[in-house]
C-alpha cells in the first residue's frame, strides 16, 4: 500500500508517494531520477548501488525505503559534487587516475572510498582493499582504484 514518505537526499527533503517496501535504489533512480546508484544484482553482493547513509556506505538495492525516512541523510554520487560543480576529492582522484573503463562500478567505489576516508583519513593499502571490498569491478580497474583512493587520501 502506498504511503507518503519523506526522504533527505543530497541535502534536500523529498516527499514521495511510494510503496514503503520499495528498495531505496528504485526510488532514487526512478522517482528522483538519480543516476549515481546502479542496479547490479539486487542481492547486496556487488556494491553497484552504494549510497551513503549518514556517511556510511550501504547498498540500496534491498533496503526498504521506509527504513531511511526520519532524517537519515542519504547521499548519492551526485550529492558529493559541490553546488558550484567542484568535484569531491575522491571523485577528482578517480578522474585523475583514469580509474574506470566502463565505469558502471565507479559509483560503488567512490561512495565506499568516501565512507572509508571519513573513518580512516589515512588508510594503508590493506584498509583500502577492505573498504572497497563490497564493490565488484569486472573491467578490473581495481589497481587504479586503489591508487585513486591513495591520491585522495594523500597517502
Amino acid at each position: 500500500m502506498d504511503a507518503n514518505l519523506t526522504l533527505l537526499v543530497n541535502g534536500k527533503q523529498h516527499t514521495l508517494r511510494v510503496d514503503p517496501a520499495t528498495p531505496l535504489l528504485y526510488v532514487l533512480r526512478n522517482d528522483l531520477a538519480l543516476n549515481g546508484p546502479k542496479f547490479g544484482c539486487g542481492l547486496q553482493q556487488c556494491g553497484a548501488c552504494m549510497v551513503l547513509l549518514n556517511d556510511i556506505a550501504w547498498p540500496s538495492c534491498q533496503l526498504p525505503v521506509h527504513q531511511v525516512t526520519g532524517g537519515v541523510a542519504i547521499t548519492t554520487l551526485e550529492g558529493l559534487t559541490k553546488p558550484d560543480g567542484t568535484l569531491h576529492p575522491v571523485q577528482a582522484a578517480f578522474v585523475q587516475e583514469q580509474a574506470a573503463q566502463c565505469g558502471y562500478c565507479l559509483n560503488g567505489m567512490v561512495i565506499s572510498a568516501v565512507s572509508l576516508l571519513k573513518q580512516y583519513p589515512k588508510p594503508d593499502e590493506a584498509a583500502i582493499r577492505n573498504g572497497l571490498f563490497r564493490v565488484l569491478c569486472r573491467c578490473s580497474v581495481q589497481a587504479r582504484a586503489i591508487r585513486a583512493v591513495q591520491r585522495a587520501a594523500g597517502v
Binding site: 510503496d19 517496501a21 520499495t22 528498495p23 528504485y26 533512480r29 526512478n30 531520477a33 538519480l34 543516476n35 549515481g36 546502479k38 542496479f39 547490479g40 544484482c41 539486487g42 542481492l43 553482493q45 556487488c46 553497484a48 548519492t76 554520487l77 551526485e78 559534487t81 568535484l87 571523485q91 578517480f94 578522474v95 583514469q98 580509474a99 574506470a100 573503463q101 566502463c102 565505469g103 558502471y104 562500478c105 565507479l106 559509483n107 567512490v110 583500502i128 582493499r129 577492505n130 572497497l132 571490498f133 564493490v135 565488484l136 569491478c137 569486472r138 573491467c139 578490473s140 580497474v141 581495481q142 589497481a143 587504479r144 582504484a145 586503489i146
Partner: protein, 736 residues
C-alpha cells in the same frame, strides 16, 4: 553564409558539388615528410563506407563531428577517434564530438569486437580526416587564390600566411564532404603529432563520476513502462501454466502480461512492481521438460566423447619420421566462463508508427537491426537501433537478447517506451558463456639442440561466436516463442575456436587438430575467444618443456622466436622483474603470445604466493607485469588501462571462475556462486608499453588474457612444484 544547424543529418545535404577525387597529384609528390599508407589498402570499414561524410561532418560552428560504427564498451574508443580526427584536422580536441554506433547515422562496422576498434574504426577516421583536410585546403586555395602550401589549418579554419581565414563550414558552403576517400592520401607526419600517442584523459570518466546520464540503464522517457522477463528454469523448458490473474491480484501494479509460448514478459508502471511480478512468476509458474545437462562426469571427458566436426587447422612441416614417443604430453582444461557484466543487460524499445526504435548496449547495431526486423517480421528500414553504452561486456553477453525482449514487449504496448532490465539471475543463468575447452598437447624436443622439433595441439571446444549477425534465431527470446526460431548448429569449424592454437614459435613441424563439438551450455564470444584456453595450454606446455629440458623459461622461448618484436616484449618483461626477491613458496611465471598471431604482442609475468593455511592452502597472485607492443599507440594510458584490466580479469578467470550445472540447470546463478575477484584478491599490476610509432596500430584489448593465465599457472608451479592443468587453479587441486 548558408544556414544549417548541427543536427542537420547528412542525407539532407545538397547533392552535387561535383565529387572531386582527392589525389596526391594535386599536391605534387614531393612531400617527403608525409606518411603514406604502407599497404595498398584502406582500412576495411572505410572500403565499405568510402565517403568522407560517412565518418566526419563539419558543423555550422566549425566543430567537427566524427561518426564511428563502434560502441564505447570501456575501451575508450570515443577519445581515441577524437584524438585522431583532431590530429589530422589540426583542431582542438574539445571541438571534436563523437557519435557512436547508430543505424542510418553512423557507418555499418558490424561488431565492436576482436580488438579491432582502433585498427578498423580509428584508422578509417584517420584517412577520412586526412582526405577532408586535403579537400578543405583545395577549397581554400581556390577561395584565397593561393597555393595549398601557403595555407594552414587551425582551430576549425583554413588560414593564409597573411592572416585571412575561413571556417570549415564557410568553405563548404553548408555542404558536407561527399568525396570518396581514395589512395594515396597524405597523412600528417607523425613527428608533428600533438594528440596521437599521448595519454589524453577520457572525458567520459568525469561524466561518470558526476553521475550524468550515460548508460542505457539511465534512459528515462515520459510514460516509460518497466518490464522483467520470466525466463524458464532451464534451457528448453516449456511453460505449462502461468496464472496472470493471480499475479495481478498479488501485484496490482502489473500493467500487462505478455505470454507467447514460453516467453513471458511482465510489464508494470513501476519497476519494483515488475520485479515483484518476476519474483511471483518464479514461484508460481509451472514448467515442464528442459534439456538434460551432463552432470556427474568430468566435463573434459564429456567434451572428448561428443560427436565432432574435425578439421586440421594447422599442418606445417613434416611429421614423417617423427619420434613415436613424444618428449612430453599433457592435457589441459578450461571451464565455461561468464562475461559477468556488473550491470545486467538492459534495453529500451518503442514501437510507434510502424517503426521500432531500440536503445541498446549491443556490440553490433546493424546486425541487431536485421535480426530484430526478421524476428518481428518488419522491414529493416523500420527498425532504428541506437547504441548507448552499458556496463562492460567483454564480448557477447545478454545485450542483444534483452533488446529482443524489449522489442517484443514494445510491440504489445505501442506508443510507449518499454525498459527491460534483466535480473542478476537472468544474466548469470542465460548469458552465452565462453566455451569450455579441452586441449591435448604433445611435443618432441631434440635432446642435442634443446629445440622443439614436432608440436601437436588437439582441442575440443564448442563455438566461440554465436552473435546474431542478422539471424533472429540466435536471440534468446526467439527460441521460446509459440512458433520458435531455433538456431542451427554451424556446419564448419569457426576460427575463434582455434585462435592462437598455432604457436608463434618457430617449430619445424606443427599440427593442430580442432574438434568442434556442441557442448551442453549456451555459448558465444568471450574476450579473446579460444585464445585464452589455447594460450593457457600452449604456454603452460612450453614451460613444462623448458623445465624438462632444464632450460631457462625466457631463454627457451627466445630461442624459438624469430620475430624481434616478440623477443622484445619477453626481454622487457624479464627486465621488469629482475629485482624481484622470492620468499619460500613464492614463484614467478612467464608467458607470451601474439594475439591472433597478428595483433598485439604481450608477455606477462605473475608473482604467486602459495600459502599453507590451517584448512588448506591459499593461492594469491601478488603482482603481475606485462610488456605489450601494439604498434603505433594512439593513447598509451588507454592501452595500459586495457592491459591492466586484462591481467586482473584473466587472473580472476584463472583462479576463481567456473560455471557449474547439475543435471537440470546452471547452478551458478549469483555472485556468491560465481565469485569473481574482489578487492582483497586483485594483484597490483605494472604495464610497459613498447611504442612503435611507425608501425600500424594492432588490436590490443584482448592480448593479455591468455598469457596471464599461463603465467599464473607457471608461477604456481615454481612456487610449490605442482603443475595445475585444469582451470580454475583452486587450492584444493594442489592436494590432488
Amino acid at each position: 553564409m548558408p544556414h544549417f544547424t548541427p543536427s542537420t543529418s547528412r542525407r539532407n545535404f545538397l547533392k552535387g558539388a561535383g565529387c572531386l577525387t582527392i589525389g596526391f597529384v594535386l599536391f605534387g609528390v614531393g612531400a617527403a615528410a608525409a606518411e603514406t599508407p604502407k599497404g595498398p589498402e584502406l582500412p576495411g570499414s572505410l572500403q565499405d563506407n568510402p565517403r568522407i561524410n560517412a565518418w566526419l561532418e563539419v558543423l555550422a560552428d566549425g566543430r567537427v563531428r566524427v561518426l564511428t560504427g563502434k560502441i564505447e564498451i570501456g575501451q575508450g574508443i570515443r577519445t581515441a577517434v577524437a584524438q585522431i580526427a583532431a590530429e589530422e584536422l589540426d583542431m582542438p580536441l574539445e571541438r571534436v564530438e563523437v557519435v557512436l554506433a547508430e543505424t542510418n547515422r553512423t557507418p555499418d562496422e558490424r561488431y565492436t569486437a576482436g580488438s579491432a576498434s582502433i585498427e578498423q574504426s580509428a584508422m578509417s577516421v584517420r584517412y577520412a580526416a586526412a582526405a577532408a583536410r586535403q579537400k578543405l585546403l583545395i577549397l581554400a586555395a581556390a577561395q584565397f587564390k593561393a597555393m595549398p602550401s601557403q595555407l594552414e589549418l587551425r582551430n576549425g579554419s583554413v588560414r593564409t600566411t597573411d592572416g585571412r581565414q575561413l571556417g570549415f563550414a564557410q568553405l563548404l558552403g553548408g555542404q558536407q564532404l561527399q568525396d570518396e576517400v581514395r589512395l594515396p592520401i597524405r597523412l600528417k607526419p607523425k613527428a608533428d603529432y600533438r594528440y596521437v600517442g599521448r595519454s589524453i584523459p577520457r572525458d567520459d570518466i568525469e561524466r561518470m563520476v558526476r553521475a550524468e546520464e550515460y548508460y542505457v540503464q539511465d534512459l528515462r522517457f515520459p510514460g516509460m513502462v518497466h518490464a522483467r522477463i520470466l525466463r524458464p528454469p532451464t534451457y528448453e523448458a516449456k511453460l505449462e501454466s502461468f496464472d496472470s490473474k493471480a499475479l495481478k491480484k498479488a501485484v496490482p501494479g502489473v500493467l500487462q502480461v505478455v505470454v507467447d509460448g514460453s516467453f513471458v514478459g511482465l510489464l508494470a508502471e513501476r519497476e519494483y512492481d515488475a520485479k515483484l511480478a518476476q519474483d511471483f512468476g518464479r514461484l508460481h509458474a509451472r514448467w515442464s521438460g528442459g534439456r538434460a545437462l551432463p552432470a556427474g562426469q568430468p566435463l573434459a571427458d564429456h567434451l572428448r566423447q561428443l560427436p565432432a566436426i574435425d578439421k586440421r587447422t594447422t599442418d606445417k612441416g613434416n611429421f614423417n619420421g617423427a619420434p613415436t614417443t613424444p618428449t612430453l604430453r599433457a592435457s589441459y582444461f578450461k571451464p565455461y566462463l561468464m562475461h559477468g557484466s556488473i550491470g545486467p543487460s538492459c534495453a529500451v524499445a518503442l514501437f510507434e508508427q510502424n517503426t521500432l526504435h531500440v536503445w541498446t548496449h549491443s556490440q553490433g547495431v546493424y546486425p541487431l537491426r536485421d535480426a530484430l526486423a526478421k524476428l518481428l517480421k518488419i522491414n529493416p528500414e523500420n527498425v532504428h537501433v541506437k547504441g548507448v553504452p552499458g556496463s562492460g561486456c567483454y564480448g557477447h553477453n545478454g545485450a542483444d537478447d534483452v533488446a529482443a525482449d524489449a522489442a517484443l514487449l514494445a510491440r504489445a504496448v505501442p506508443g510507449r517506451h518499454v525498459r527491460v532490465q534483466w535480473s542478476r539471475e537472468d544474466e548469470h543463468a542465460w548469458e552465452p558463456y565462453g566455451s569450455a575447452m579441452l586441449l591435448d598437447l604433445e611435443a618432441h624436443l631434440d635432446p642435442k639442440t634443446g629445440r622443439v622439433t614436432h608440436w601437436k595441439h588437439e582441442l575440443w571446444s564448442d563455438t566461440h561466436s554465436s552473435r546474431p549477425g542478422g539471424s533472429p534465431e540466435k536471440l534468446l527470446a526467439a527460441q521460446y516463442l509459440a512458433q520458435p526460431l531455433l538456431p542451427k548448429p554451424e556446419d564448419d569449424v569457426s576460427g575463434g575456436i582455434y585462435r592462437n592454437s598455432e604457436p608463434y614459435y618457430d617449430f619445424p613441424a606443427v599440427r593442430v587438430d580442432t574438434h568442434y563439438v556442441q557442448g551442453p551450455l549456451r555459448v558465444s564470444a568471450l574476450r579473446s575467444l579460444g585464445a585464452f584456453g589455447n594460450v593457457f595450454a600452449l604456454e603452460s606446455f612450453m614451460e613444462e618443456l623448458a623445465v624438462k629440458a632444464g632450460q631457462d623459461p625466457y631463454a627457451f622461448r627466445l630461442r624459438h622466436l624469430k620475430d624481434e618484436r616478440a623477443k622484445a616484449v619477453l626481454r622487457k618483461v624479464q627486465d621488469m622483474v629482475q629485482n624481484q626477491k622470492l620468499a619460500s613458496r613464492e614463484g614467478l611465471g612467464v608467458a607470451f603470445a601474439r594475439y591472433k598471431n597478428q595483433a598485439a604482442y604481450c608477455a606477462v609475468v605473475a608473482k604467486v604466493t602459495v600459502a599453507p593455511e590451517a584448512d588448506g592452502s591459499t593461492i594469491r597472485v601478488a603482482k603481475m607485469w606485462a610488456a605489450i607492443d601494439a604498434g603505433e599507440v594512439i593513447n598509451p594510458d588507454g592501452l595500459k588501462n586495457q592491459t591492466e584490466g586484462g591481467l586482473i580479469q584473466a587472473a580472476s578467470w584463472t583462479l576463481n571462475e567456473e560455471v557449474y550445472f547439475n543435471a537440470y540447470q546452471v547452478t551458478t546463478r549469483q555472485w556468491e556462486q560465481y565469485p569473481i575477484y574482489r578487492f582483497d584478491e586483485v594483484p597490483l599490476v605494472e604495464v610497459a608499453v613498447l611504442d612503435r610509432p611507425t608501425e600500424p596500430p594492432l588490436g590490443a584489448g584482448e592480448a593479455a588474457q591468455g598469457p596471464a593465465a599461463a603465467a599464473i599457472a607457471n608461477a604456481v608451479f615454481h612456487a610449490c612444484g605442482k603443475r595445475i592443468r585444469q582451470l580454475p587453479i583452486r587450492p584444493e587441486k594442489l592436494l590432488a
